[in-house]
């Protein structure tokens, strides 16, 4: 890991390509404590609403980090590893070959800062040919007021393996402000598949800067689902996937709600470098007075690639901003790329149609919005779909 520190130091003041600049100095970094608190002390409902099962039941492994300390980590399935990144780096010398390989350390000040902090975050790996029976769960929990939580996660799906991960990032009910920096690197080896589902429950004054890189080899599949329905002050993320192998696949779906005062700038960028690789970026966004910038950038660098982008937004309140920025970049003949974007209100015709079946205007609106958020994600395991549905159901009272 020679030279990383120098590179990071040089990039400490480098502003991100998009998003508002955040002053890192106003947050408290603190020091990791020993595993003092147990799971029982974390608020169970905070975790559940982010799709995390505190008992670990129905999960193949769990990782829970509270501010800077790992409070819980276990695995129940052979061939499936889950541990703190600190331990994994000590245990596996080869892990350095993955460190900052899906994403550059000097991408911006947030990646640089994370590198210069003590090692925190999770490591997940599924051995070749193995499949997780249940999803793995990871929870990054913010508790202390004004905390800066930074993590660097590495996830590796070895050849022909399959893993489902559910991550819930959430905060203590009492916490109002904080900064979360999350670096995640995913490696999907030949014929492997990772389904990564994030349900995030932030707070009015929490700032979030995830930085994600994904490398997919031949025939590999990466599916990302991002759900954020609660208020968040300022979230900006733009995960990038490199489909380097032939017939590799990446699908990014996001379901976002921006209440008044929230600012969400998210999307995904996919480089389709392998012949016949495919990608889809889908977002369903709702503004209840907040701002959503829905990005998508597809770069077709190989023959026979197929890529599609879909940004659909509903503005439910008098004011609210949804800014869709779909970009298609074909770089040779034989690429097949398309996009559709629509921003507006619910069609009166649809509301009245349902009202003619006996639903009140409010019921009709709720039914249509529920349908709008109901994204059919190809290849999504049913238990993850259930978690997403549950999160939407729970947030309904806030949405309408």
């Amino acid at each position: 890991m020679h030279g990383l520190k120098e590179k990071a130091e040089k990039a400490l003041n480098k502003k991100a390509a998009v998003g508002r600049d955040i002053d890192l100095n106003i947050y408290r970094t603190g020091t990791p404590e020993s595993n003092a608190t147990g799971l029982a002390e974390l608020c169970e409902t905070d975790l559940l609403s982010a799709g995390i099962v505190p008992s670990g039941e129905g999960r193949s492994g769990s990782y829970i980090q509270e501010d800077h300390s790992v409070t819980h980590c276990n695995m129940t399935q052979k061939g499936v590893e889950i541990s703190s990144i600190e331990e994994a780096l000590k245990k596996y010398d080869w892990l350095k070959d993955y460190w900052w390989k899906a994403l550059a350390v000097d991408t911006d000040k947030y990646t640089a800062f994370t590198e210069l902090q003590p090692r925190r975050g999770y490591f997940m790996r599924v051995a070749a040919g193995q499949k997780t029976v249940y999803p793995l769960q990871a929870c990054l929990y913010m508790e202390e007021e004004g905390v800066l939580q930074s993590v660097h996660n590495v996830v590796i799906a070895e050849e022909g393996s399959e893993m489902n991960i559910i991550t819930g990032c959430t905060t203590a009910s009492s916490l109002h402000s904080g900064l979360h920096l999350g670096v995640s690197e995913f490696f999907v080896k030949k014929g492997a598949k990772i389904t990564f589902t994030m349900i995030h429950n932030w707070k009015e004054d929490v700032v979030v800067r995830p930085r994600t890189g994904v490398v997919v080899e031949e025939g590999g599949v990466f599916i990302s689902n991002y759900v954020s329905l609660k208020p968040v002050k300022d979230l900006q993320s733009f995960p990038t996937a490199y489909l380097n192998g032939d017939n590799a696949v990446a699908r990014f779906s996001s379901i976002l709600v921006a209440p008044e005062g929230s600012w969400l700038d998210t999307g995904a960028r996919v480089y389709l470098n392998g012949r016949g690789s495919r990608s889809e970026i889908i977002s369903r966004t709702i503004s209840n007075g907040g701002t959503i910038i829905a990005r998508g950038h597809l770069i077709g660098n190989a023959e026979e690639i197929k890529a599609h982008l879909e940004c659909n937004g509903l503005i439910l309140t008098e004011r609210g901003i949804i800014h869709a920025i779909p970009e298609l970049e074909g770089r040779l003949r034989g690429v097949d790329m398309s996009h559709e974007a629509a921003v507006g209100k619910i069609a009166q015709e649809e509301i009245e149609y349902l009202m003619s079946r006996g639903l009140s205007e409010e019921e009709a609106t709720a039914t249509i919005v529920r349908g709008f958020l109901n994204v059919e994600i190809e290849g999504l395991p049913p238990e993850l779909k259930q978690e997403i549905d549950r999160a939407i159901e729970e947030s309904e009272k806030d949405i309408f």
Binding site: A347, Q348, E349, E350, E352, Y353, L354, M355, S356, R357, G358, L359, S360, E361, A364, T367, I368, R370, G371, F372, L373, N374, V375
Partner: protein, 250 residues
């Protein structure tokens, strides 16, 4: 059951229907004939209570209540139901779920769909990528779940292929309690007790083979003409056209 008393209707500031007088008694099925763009759909949309169909003169009553300004969904709750010509697609809402929402009595969508050979479409989004005939079936399925007392049908047979027309016809007859079947009482007694009423728009007249309509009307240029034997009107229109029909019948 339903009385329209001198009803005049404006759509987008333009008067479409003029001074409509109509009474549909309990148990009666009426048929509306008329060329395209003459106001037939407008009349049904007005009765159902859609926004944008403004009653500027006259009044409407249903089951003895003035419904002239009653909101759409309250009319539906009072037992009105309509099948649409071109209903909107609702993404993410499964037909199965909508049928369940329509059902007051908690009827099983699967069972209702079987009646129409529509089971395989239950898990599709409402009206998503359906052919003309499939849309008609989907509409009827929702009406079966609603089980309305006043059934408004806008060209229920158009686009339905020959194989399915009998199926659709029988379901409509049942919705209107007009199915010819064995009752525990003499047919004439059952007829007296019949409560379900309906208004059907038809161009082809096909539906009349399955539903014995009681009264026929012709709408021409926004005016409702005559109330007569539907078969007679249909034959007259077939032979001499709408204009002539209106002239001779008035």
């Amino acid at each position: 059951m339903l009385i329209l008393d001198g009803v005049t209707v404006e759509v987008a500031g333009k008067e479409i229907l003029h001074d409509i007088n109509l009474e549909v008694k309990p148990g009666e099925t009426h048929v509306l004939f008329g060329p395209n763009g003459t106001g037939k759909t407008t009349l049904l949309m007005t009765i159902m209570g859609f926004a944008g169909y403004t009653v500027t003169k006259g009044r409407m009553s249903y089951k003895g209540e003035d419904i002239t300004t009653m909101p759409l969904h309250e009319r539906a709750k009072m037992g009105m139901g309509m099948s649409f010509q071109r209903p909107p697609t609702i993404r993410g809402l499964k037909t199965r779920n909508l049928v369940a929402l329509c059902s007051k009595m908690g009827k099983d969508p699967e069972e209702l769909a079987r009646r129409l050979s529509f089971e395989k479409f239950l898990d599709r989004d409402v009206n998503d990528n359906l052919s003309g005939g499939e849309i008609k079936k989907s509409e009827l399925l929702q009406l079966m779940a609603q089980d309305p007392d006043m059934v408004l049908l806008d060209e229920p047979e158009s686009g339905v292929d020959l194989e399915n027309i009998a199926l659709v016809g029988e379901v409509i007859a049942e919705l209107l309690d007009k199915a010819i079947k064995h009752f525990n009482e003499p047919m004439i007694e059952h007829k007296k007790k019949r409560k379900k009423s309906g208004i059907i728009i038809t161009h082809t007249g096909f539906i009349m083979r399955y539903v014995n309509a009681d009264v026929g009307h012709v709408i021409l240029n926004g005016r409702l003409s005559c109330a007569n034997n539907p078969e007679e009107i249909f034959s007259c229109v077939g032979k001499f056209g709408y204009e002539e029909c209106v002239r001779c019948m008035v």
